[in-house]
């Protein structure tokens, strides 16, 4: 009950933001929503399966460059098509990558994902004829639901139609992920997180489940990356850099990986705090590094972990 109430209030607030908040804050919500989608996926792997990826920026990069290629090179402007293509591209790349990575756990899994991420980063950087190198590529303004909103001033476009479009994508992403983690599949992932050897004796084929979770998380990262590209207007290789992957894990930990909504809280706090700190001093990394260190040492459960958690009462 209480959770439903908090959710309803949060949703109402997010819907109302473009009407009540200054335009600057409205625009900050866009990366929040895009990262929200990414982190929902990442946490399926981190919080639910127990695998920490240090390479998920790879899939953000894939999604974002898909948007750039489609709107630029291929003149495909429909956002629906872009998001769908980003999802498919991310899934197609993730399938073989996941097949390699899920054979390992812990530090080796983290290193292998990092290596794959850096392969893509280097590719983006070095094959500049195709990708624009470190300059990156522009992303043209996509059509929303088949409507070309090219005449609208950019700010108005982003703070209005694009804002609500992102919100709908985020809500759909939340609903689908909620379904996934509350399915028999989601339960099996949790057994693997807690005790893979025991899961196997129950007949749960651990690599298959890890693979599936990895591919789903990559699809989420791809869609989130495509969503992120439009407000930025330009994509560049740093999207796929390993520190970006590290920041994703940071955001998840910040909100709390043990809870479903933790990563969303993490993304929100990270983006607003980063913006605030950067407006005061240019050294946001120093402050954020200290915050991360404090989190790891004192509050590994993240912000949501700070509240005494009531046991979720399930229907008997």
């Amino acid at each position: 009950m209480r959770q439903a109430l908090v959710l309803a209030v949060a949703l109402a607030a997010v819907v109302a933001v473009p009407w009540i908040a200054p335009i600057y804050h409205v625009l900050l919500m866009l990366p929040f929503m895009a990262y929200g989608v990414v982190l929902l996926g990442l946490n399926l792997l981190f919080g639910y399966t127990g695998l920490v990826s240090f390479g998920h920026a790879l899939f953000i990069g894939l999604g974002a460059y898909t948007a750039a290629f489609l709107t630029g090179l291929f003149k495909v402007r429909a956002l629906e098509v872009i998001l769908l293509t980003a999802a498919v591209v991310a899934a197609v790349v993730a399938m073989p990558v996941a097949a390699f990575c899920v054979r390992y756990v812990k530090i080796y899994f983290g290193m292998l994902t990092l290596a794959f991420g850096m392969v893509f980063y280097t590719f983006l950087l070095k094959f500049y004829r195709l990708t624009g190198g470190d300059e990156g590529m522009p992303v043209a303004r996509p059509f929303l639901l088949g409507r070309d909103l090219g005449d609208m001033p950019k700010i108005e476009y982003l703070a209005g139609p694009y804002y609500y479009y992102s919100l709908v994508v985020l809500i759909v992403a939340i609903a689908v992920m909620w379904r996934i983690v509350h399915s028999p599949f989601g339960l099996c992932l949790k057994t693997i997180r807690d005790n893979p050897a025991k899961a196997e004796t129950l007949g749960i084929s651990v690599p298959h489940y890890r693979w599936t979770a990895f591919v789903i998380s990559a699809v989420y990262a791809g869609v989130g990356g495509a969503l992120l590209a439009t407000p930025t207007g330009n994509v560049d290789p740093t999207l796929a850099y390993w520190t970006h992957s590290g920041n994703l894990v940071f955001m998840t930990l910040l909100g709390g990986f043990a809870s479903f909504f933790g990563p969303l809280v993490g993304a929100f706090v990270f983006i607003y705090l980063q913006d605030f700190v950067m407006s005061v001093v240019p050294y946001w990394r120093l402050v954020f590094g200290a915050i991360l260190a404090a989190l790891v040492i004192f509050a590994p459960g993240g912000l949501l972990g700070l509240f005494p958690r009531r046991r979720v009462i399930e229907a008997a």
């Binding site: 949790k190 004796t201 007949g203 599936t212």
Partner: protein
């Protein structure tokens, strides 16, 4: 004959852990494997569950060679196993643990978009096993918060939730109090009848448990079968008892 080991020998390097062991288990049997430390009990259990590969000889389950088959396929074939050290999912509740096992048995673990809560088969299956093992009052407790005896029960219960045809237990009562031991064994035997389990094989040190519950005892000594007899016959042979459990009867190792 549901499970059959024929002339299995197992070397670890130069060391011969098992020598020419032949052992068959039929439907309806409760077999205890006993022997002093290093007699090869765990090795035999590992061979019987296809976890280790015999240096020579074969292990067949339902007329199928299960050498090196791996735990996942073994569970699907209908053989369950528990380990000496209690294996639980610390952050799952009792109910979730049993639901996971039932979902795996029903081959529904790969249903990504189905509702777990709406799946009556999984829910009922888990409730049934929880009731059988007296865990229904604790079904919302996290596994890591259970007392040791209940952890052990949950571990075995999740294996039973697979509704196997045969179950192999490595010291099902190790590390729990004497009072809990008998309780666990009684629950186990009753549950076995209810779910229609065909055979139980256990490795056990506690001779009261062994004599009190098994139909048949296989005594191992230095990697070979020393005796394969009924509890009555074993009990009558004082020299044999001394050899496999040491001087004092009933002392747990």
């Amino acid at each position: 004959m549901i499970l059959q080991a024929e002339n299995v020998t197992k070397y670890y390097g130069e060391f011969r852990a098992l020598h020419d062991v032949t052992l068959g288990v039929s439907a309806g049997e409760f077999v205890s494997i006993i022997g002093p430390n290093g007699a090869g009990k765990s090795t035999l259990l590992n061979l019987l569950t296809g976890l280790a590969r015999p240096s020579s000889g074969t292990v067949r389950f339902k007329d199928r060679d299960i050498t090196g088959i791996g735990p996942v396929k073994l569970a699907k074939l209908g053989m369950a196993r528990s380990f000496q050290l209690v294996q639980i999912f610390p952050d799952l509740t009792v109910r979730e643990t049993l639901q996971a096992a039932v979902a795996a048995r029903l081959r529904r673990g790969r249903r990504i978009f189905a509702s777990l809560r709406g799946d009556r088969d999984i829910r009922d299956g888990a409730e049934e096993v929880a009731a059988l093992f007296g865990l229904d009052a604790k079904r919302r407790a996290l596994a890591r918060e259970l007392p040791q005896g209940d952890k052990k029960l949950l571990d075995v219960a999740s294996a039973f939730a697979l509704r196997p045809e045969i179950i192999l237990l490595d010291e099902p009562t190790s590390g729990v109090s004497t009072a809990d031991k008998t309780r666990i064994m009684e629950i186990l035997v009753r549950a076995a009848k209810t779910i229609g389990l065909q055979a139980i094989i256990q490795v056990e040190h506690d001779m009261d448990i062994v004599f009190g519950f098994s139909d048949r005892i296989v005594a191992l000594h230095q990697g070979a079968v020393l005796a394969d007899a009924t509890p009555r016959e074993v009990q009558a042979d004082q020299r044999l008892v001394d050899m496999v459990v040491g001087r004092r009867r009933g002392a747990s190792a």
